[in-house]
Symmetry: C2
Subunit: 198 residues, 2 copies
């Protein structure tokens, strides 16, 4: 009974297809893997071309034999991260029922961001170069919010609210001493009752 879809009964079924990323060459795959490790373990400031070269045993300029530049490397990381988070959230929605789907989704979103804070920041901060992203990857990552709400703009608002709540948490922007579980509970409650205005 994974995904019931009774009249008005969420969660909805999947619609967006899971995107397939263009498989990188072995060396490029290696570079991306190292880049992700550096980003996650050492932070965004450590993600430099020279640091990557160091870990790969080559000099920074040699990286340009494989990649057009640092921004392209970042796009690859974002691409993969969006597919991953989409997989995670779709799985959560698959396993949830109407009563708990919204809370489960928000909890999973928060947990994922806290487990990969630097990757999360890379994915969500700054303007997005859509043309460089693999097609459909944003739809894939965002659809779980639609499946959980049943209305596109409510889904967008929920995603945005979740993002705001978690990015402020990652950056330590709440007043010291705040019990963030209660903040998340308040957010969940706000979106948990039927909303007419759309």
């Amino acid at each position: 009974m994974g995904t019931p879809q009774g009249p008005g009964g969420l969660p909805l079924a999947r619609v967006a297809p899971r995107p397939v990323l263009a498989p990188p060459s072995p060396r490029v795959g290696e570079i991306i893997a190292v880049a992700r490790e550096v980003l996650e373990k050492e932070g965004a400031a450590a993600l430099t071309m020279r640091r990557l070269g160091e870990l790969l045993g080559i000099r920074a300029p040699s990286l340009y034999k494989h990649l057009a530049g640092k921004s392209q490397l970042e796009v690859r990381l974002v691409d993969a991260a969006l597919v991953e988070v989409g997989d995670l959230l779709h799985g959560v929605v698959d396993r949830a029922d109407a009563a708990s789907v919204l809370g489960d989704l928000l909890a999973a979103y928060r947990a994922h961001a806290r487990a990969h804070p630097n990757l999360y920041r890379l994915v969500t901060s700054g303007p997005m170069r859509r043309d460089q992203l693999t097609a459909g990857v944003e739809d894939w990552a965002g659809e779980p919010f639609y499946r959980a709400t049943g209305e596109p703009y409510l889904a967008q608002a929920l995603w945005a609210a979740a993002h705001g709540t978690v990015i402020l948490e990652l950056d330590g922007r709440y007043l010291p001493g705040s019990d963030l579980d209660r903040t998340w509970a308040a957010l969940t409650a706000a979106f948990s009752r039927p909303v007419d205005g759309a």
Copy 2:
């Protein structure tokens, strides 16, 4: 009238005092003013020490006779911006009544961020150096959300949701063709009915 506070009737009265920023020396005030202009009109990437010096008629190293560094300059900008947005939002709440306060607050927050996107990003992105900020400035800027909701954690969730919704708008992260007025309407609606769970 201005701020009724009947039992359960929002908006609440002000509590946090309006912070007073330490007045900078004339030259420092000039630097801050130029910095803000560069940031707002030319973007964060143009906010460099050399660019500031250029506009002030001096060389970059001379700026260090007045400021400890770029990050301190940024803190000054954030300080002033937080007081400003606090003034704005408190004024909105002052003028609103219980029925419309939430919508008015969110609309004002959104409008202000869109009018000063680069300043908004500076204020809200990255970790905050609380020790450098003027005391009480965060409380001042955040209190309108408490006045509009009457519950601290709901206020935090509302602020976080507003931030998420507007920062994604500024960075153009919504799917192309989205009617963001509807997204904001959905957000407003979600927070507009009484919430028990806290």
